[in-house]
Symmetry: C2
Subunit: 321 residues, 2 copies
């Protein structure tokens, strides 16, 4: 799917985000939290909400407390698409060792998420920007059947779907503008160790852009014939890496929705804003750090990223524009 080159400037639009809503139990070298708010759609939505209005689609059980819904609403997130199903909310339990790039799952209870089919409220179907968080590619395709005229569709995925539904994932890739993968997933899906080759392969499958997340090593943005390397933000301590990739994606799509600018130069800035949001999120468990985060802190850290990456001014002829 090609970005319509005449439409790289978008009208302001809410971001539609579809994915999991969960209770997480997480143990890291810095502590342990039980049954805290999590899920890809939640991390991405809260992160995006710092930049633009958000419409969330997901499913929770009857055990999902009102306070979590109120938290989302207080952040300007439209929760009309949050389905409530008879049963328990999706639960994930896992731990991280000192190598915080690798989550180890202890237990997954899909609960109501097992029978989830995204149903978009009528008011969501005109969404211009859609983020399909990591869910079954068949469900991602169901979402695309329901949106009328999206201008920017972004998807994430994971090794589970790469192994079990590679053909359906390919179908998703034919229909999205941008795809997120982490480095291991990109290598696995494309069968090559070279991230440059993997990105070229992914671009050939349909998307106009590929964002490869490298955890503590930053992120790479690939577009046709170009790439950008965003630095990581070094922290003395990472409390909990859960949701880092989703927070990254939320900041990325939120910034694009806010600016309405889909140029390559602005995709680079979006990659950095995604990195900024992820760098905050991992400083505390669950979404705790995002609960107190301010626009001033986001702006200050973005400046830090500029400072960290700068080594020489690029000529004013705008070769990167």
């Amino acid at each position: 799917m090609m970005l319509n080159s005449s439409a790289t400037a978008l009208e302001p639009s809410p971001v539609l985000i579809v994915g999991s809503v969960a209770f997480d139990s997480v143990e890291t070298p810095l502590g342990r939290e039980e049954n805290v708010l999590g899920g890809a759609a939640v991390y991405a939505s809260v992160s995006a909400s710092f930049f633009a209005p958000v419409q969330i689609v997901g499913v929770v059980g009857t055990d999902f407390p009102k306070e979590h819904v109120e938290f989302l609403r207080a952040r300007g997130i439209d929760t009309e698409g949050l389905q409530v199903a008879e049963g328990k909310t999706f639960r994930w339990s896992g731990y991280y060792d000192y190598d915080l790039n690798q989550a180890h799952t202890r237990q997954t209870d899909l609960n109501v998420f097992a029978d989830f089919h995204p149903r978009l409220p009528e008011s969501y179907r005109d969404a211009r920007i859609v983020f399909l968080a990591n869910i079954d590619p068949d469900l991602q395709l169901e979402v695309l059947e329901q949106v009328r005229d999206p201008r920017l569709v972004v998807c994430d995925t994971m090794n589970f779907w790469i192994e079990r539904k590679p053909e359906r994932l390919r179908e998703v890739l034919r229909r999205v503008n941008l795809v997120f993968m982490n480095d291991a997933e990109a290598r696995q899906f494309c069968g090559t160790f070279s991230l440059l080759r993997a990105a070229r392969d992914l671009l050939a499958m349909g998307p106009d852009g590929v964002i490869i997340k490298k955890g503590e090593h930053g992120a790479l943005l690939f577009t046709k014939g170009k790439h950008f390397s965003a630095p990581s933000y070094l922290l003395e301590q990472v409390a909990d890496p859960t949701g880092a990739g989703d927070t990254f994606a939320g900041g990325f799509v939120g910034y694009l929705a806010y600016t309405g600018d889909l140029s390559e130069a602005n995709l680079r800035k979006a990659t950095v804003y995604g990195s900024v949001m992820a760098s905050f999120n991992i400083q505390d468990f669950s979404l705790n750090r995002l609960r107190t985060l301010t626009q001033e802190e986001i702006a200050a850290r973005y400046e830090e990223f500029k400072e960290i990456a700068f080594f020489e001014a690029i000529s004013a002829s705008g070769e990167t524009a």
Copy 2:
């Protein structure tokens, strides 16, 4: 050891480089080479020679062919400090899997390197810039006893010395301006997973700057209260990563010698020039790529690094200067 702040501009000076000279037998997924020219001092010297005159100190056996010495001389490297000892030249044999960050040693024959003690020719002892490549810290200290008034001393090391001679390595660190380590070495030496903490610990031991090499993930430069993240250069294929760190170091010190500018802003550029040189070196076995490398290619790749890392102009107030 503090850089003399009034002396951040140096007179043009050759770079003195001390380290191993070797024959390497290397196997990688892309091929195999037997008994090819290698050694940290050779990689670093050839790399530095693209920027400044070099004086090399090392030892070879009587089996070391004239053509290698002639190659070094043709690159403007002073070989008066290349000692010839009765016996065979140091030999290293190893292989790399697809994870090219990790060398696996098959065999090490120290040969004449076992009894090596660096002896600086009189003409070397006024060197202003000294690079102590990865050798026994006791030998690194012997070099420092012989140079009269160095203005910039840079050292490298490896896990072998971190494990066996940590106290002597600390003594070296008290006496150098800049230290290179890779990420695993910095974590091991400082006993922390956080590279930020490791760098702070290393700075507290004496150096004014710490350069942490992260292989395919680029490099980090730490100075007091600041750090810089240099992107890596993505290649479709890496032929042979042997010598990447030494080539990096050679480009780094060579660029500093060429510019005579030891400001933090220029250390950032040196980090990128080091990355540029390493990115070329790994494209072929041994020093083959450096044999044909041109200044134009170096300049063009440096521009590519600028393009890869750029996302937003930094204000003209020069906050990074």
